[in-house]
């Protein structure tokens, strides 16, 4: 009896909701630093703030022990140019990483300077970062003295974008040597030790609580952030958090453009919890957001295709040669030692592969030739890389249980036979609040970390920026006084949150999500014009005015999913407004305006910002290097940086 309909068949009724329902209860929590989101960035922010001696509260939608994209694990620690085996200068590497336009130079500089210290602190807490059991002696990249294992990723080439792959040459990198900036780690050990350390330091953790809005001084949009509201997604209890500083450590938004109603959690690369709540609440509170117009392409993990990582070579299988059905090697890079980390075929090679398929030169399907690899490299890829990567241990273990033996079997690849994704399947490409050198947003009292800082969602970036934002927020909290929460703001938010459980019928969260996603697909995807984008704003407005008032939730869990839809809706509105504001196409933003077809014209080499002022959208812009001299500004703002934690 583990399926709910079993209970109907046995007892004639479904099981009762297992948690007490407290829609009418309210809890108030007073803290110095409030951390919103308990993933990698949030845990690190909580730990570094708590180590500064202030009171810290962390709020997480799931359970902090395994929540977030990095909760299940992580196999490589990116951009650690300060590690002892690195062959590059951290500041030069940071400059290099920021070369592609619309990246975040501030976050990248922080990552490159502090990422290695962060990893050493992870080791102090009990996370495994070295091959201490000598399991991989003889593997390339393994250093006998430190027992660190350098990853082949990005060792010379690092780009997912075909045509952008070029060997990296850095002044500090000696000729003929790899850069050694990425370290293999045993990341499945990380999240539980982060939670343990939070608890040890006295961080007050509220698991299964969704933060729904930021509270501002006098309830005014654009004023200082002085707290947040939330509710427990098992009991429905309302929470009011009063804080001196808050860190927004929420994830991006991976499901705005696509909803598969039966596989609601399997739409995308991330769990359904990543619904852009942070950007949405910052937007409503009046923070300036940037890079909102960028789109990502949702290639895999949609539920309509094979699982990401579930087939050889479809994601990143280090060092596994890809062969055709007859065993013929393909010019497909291995993201490994022989091609120095390249992941996607060059446009020329891709054309060659496609022509080869059509002419019969390459027979489908393709396979990952695990048996053809040296034994230790095969084991490192299968057990360490895939065993420790975020959601891949269950793949290796369940395949093994099903009889797969990497020493004997070629693992099938699903490229080409599952087809390409429609261009309308997109991700909301990682925009977020504008940040300064303290990782502070444009609102006082609001700091930002991790993927939310208009940046890539990699694990070590989240860790390093979380750790940084936590200490800056702690410093700020010691300089400011308390503020009064606006009762009206809380009352309005309560009415918004509980409306779906007050109704006795209506549409559920899945249908609302599907409606929002379809509007984004039609009006803000492959074909963008002023007219289509304005239709998109009208479509979202119609959803807001007609269908949101019909949103219905059976229980606190489904209520959370419904409120997440409202985040998606606000996120979509911010994205369309930013898309209207950028009157030029851009390759790096995956942003094509039919009515402004010029790609990356020089006068549009700038960040576009959008923010709400008196509930009206205000558009702005910032230079692409608004952070100034990265090295000088980092150093000026961090004279007191103490390096690796030495305290208890």
């Amino acid at each position: 009896m583990t399926r709910w309909h079993d209970f109907i068949e046995k007892d004639g009724r479904p099981p009762a909701w297992p948690y007490p329902i407290h829609y009418d209860k309210e809890q108030e929590i007073d803290t110095d630093v409030l951390i919103i989101g308990g993933g990698i960035a949030g845990c690190w922010a909580a730990i570094s703030a708590a180590r500064k001696g202030v009171r810290v509260t962390l709020v997480e939608k799931g359970d902090t022990v395994r929540s977030g994209a990095g909760g299940p694990g992580c196999d490589h620690w990116c951009n650690a140019p300060a590690n002892p085996l690195s062959n590059v200068d951290p500041d030069e590497w940071a400059q290099h990483m920021t070369e592609p336009p619309y990246s975040n130079g501030i976050g990248t500089q922080i990552q490159c300077r502090e990422d290695w210290d962060t990893l050493l602190e992870m080791e102090q807490m009990g996370g495994k970062i070295r091959d201490t059991k000598d399991e991989y002696v003889g593997a390339k990249g393994r250093d006998e003295k430190t027992k660190l294992m350098i990853s082949p990723r990005y060792t010379k080439v690092h780009s997912y974008i075909p045509g952008m792959q070029k060997p990296v040459t850095l002044k500090s990198n000696p000729e003929g040597k790899l850069n050694n900036v990425v370290i293999r780690v045993w990341g499945s050990t990380f999240k539980p030790v982060l939670k343990r350390e939070c608890k040890r330091l006295g961080v007050k953790i509220f698991d299964r609580v969704m933060v729904t809005s930021l509270l501002t001084e006098k309830g005014v949009q654009g004023a200082r952030v002085i707290g947040a509201t939330g509710f427990n997604n098992r009991t429905g209890e309302f929470m009011v958090f009063k804080s001196k500083a808050a860190v927004l450590a929420t994830a991006g938004d991976w499901s705005l453009f696509l909803m598969n109603t039966e596989l609601a959690g399997y739409n995308f690369f991330r769990s359904r919890t990543t619904t852009g709540d942070g950007a949405a609440m910052a937007w409503r509170a009046g923070a300036a957001l940037t890079v909102m117009e960028r789109n990502g392409v949702l290639m895999l993990g949609t539920g309509f295709k094979h699982t990401w990582y579930g087939g050889a070579g479809d994601a990143s299988y280090e060092n596994v040669p890809i062969v055709d059905a007859n065993g013929k090697r393909l010019p497909w890079p291995t993201q490994g030692w022989e091609d120095a980390g390249a992941m996607r075929p060059t446009p020329e090679n891709m054309e060659k592969i496609i022509k080869g398929i059509q002419s019969g030169e390459y027979a489908l399907p393709f396979y990952g030739d695990f048996p053809g690899m040296p034994e230790v490299e095969r084991r490192a890829t299968w057990k360490l890389m895939l065993g420790e990567e975020s959601t891949t241990r269950n793949i290796t273990e369940s395949y093994e249980k099903g009889g797969f033996d990497p020493a004997k079997h070629l693992l099938q690849n699903y490229s080409f036979i599952e087809g390409n994704s429609p261009a309308q399947w997109r991700t909301a490409g990682g925009g977020g609040p504008v940040v300064d050198w303290d990782l502070k947003s444009t609102l006082d009292g609001l700091y930002v970390a991790g993927e939310q800082t208009f940046s890539a969602g990699d694990h070590s970036y989240a860790a390093a920026t979380g750790r940084y934002a936590g200490r800056k927020a702690a410093d700020y909290s010691q300089q400011v006084g308390k503020a009064e929460i606006s009762k009206d703001q809380v009352t309005l938010e309560k009415a918004r949150i509980y409306a779906p459980v007050r109704r006795t019928e209506g549409i559920d969260w899945k249908e609302l999500h599907a409606g929002i996603a379809r509007a984004m697909q039609y009006f803000c995807s492959e074909y963008k014009t002023e007219h289509l984008l304005k239709m998109g704003l009208d479509a979202l407005k119609e959803i807001e005015e007609v269908f949101v008032p019909r949103l219905y939730a059976l229980d606190p869990h489904k209520l959370m999913r419904g409120i997440e839809d409202l985040s998606l809706l606000a996120h979509g509105q911010a994205i369309i407004n930013a898309s209207l504001a950028r009157k030029a196409s851009s390759r790096m933003l995956n942003f094509l305006r039919i009515d402004y077809p010029k790609v990356d014209p020089p006068d549009w080499h700038k960040f576009v910002t959008v923010q709400m002022e008196n509930n009206k959208v205000k558009v702005g812009e910032m230079p692409l290097d608004y952070w100034g001299d990265m090295k000088a500004n980092y150093e000026a703002r961090n004279k007191d940086y103490a390096g690796v934690y030495q305290g208890k």
Binding site: E262, G265, H409
Partner: protein, 99 residues
């Protein structure tokens, strides 16, 4: 045919991202806690495996299986359309995860 037939809607597909072994599982509910998305709720009967309430929200992260303190209590169960294919290099025989 003594079993009563109820008028039930179609069952959410896929409905069983994992399969519990009630012989080994002691209903500790650790999997209920590690799940990011609350796929499970505790079983109303203490000591029994959890109830899979929201299988459609599973993102197949595997934490419930990986972190289970009583190995064998819970096994991963890929939806049919997500099962993997592989091929024996020596014989060329195509195989499938058909657990």
């Amino acid at each position: 045919m003594a079993k009563k037939t109820y008028a039930l809607p179609n069952i959410t597909t896929p409905a069983t991202p994992v399969i519990f072994n009630p012989e080994i599982c002691n209903g500790c509910n650790h999997c209920v806690e590690v799940c990011q998305v609350d796929v499970y709720i505790p079983n109303p009967e203490k000591g029994k495996p959890p109830v899979i309430l929201h299988p459609d929200e599973c993102w197949y992260c595997g934490c419930c299986v990986n972190d289970c303190p009583r190995p064998g209590s819970i096994a991963f169960n890929w939806p049919v359309q997500q099962r993997a294919y592989w091929k024996d290099k020596a014989t060329g025989k195509v195989l499938r995860d058909s657990q």
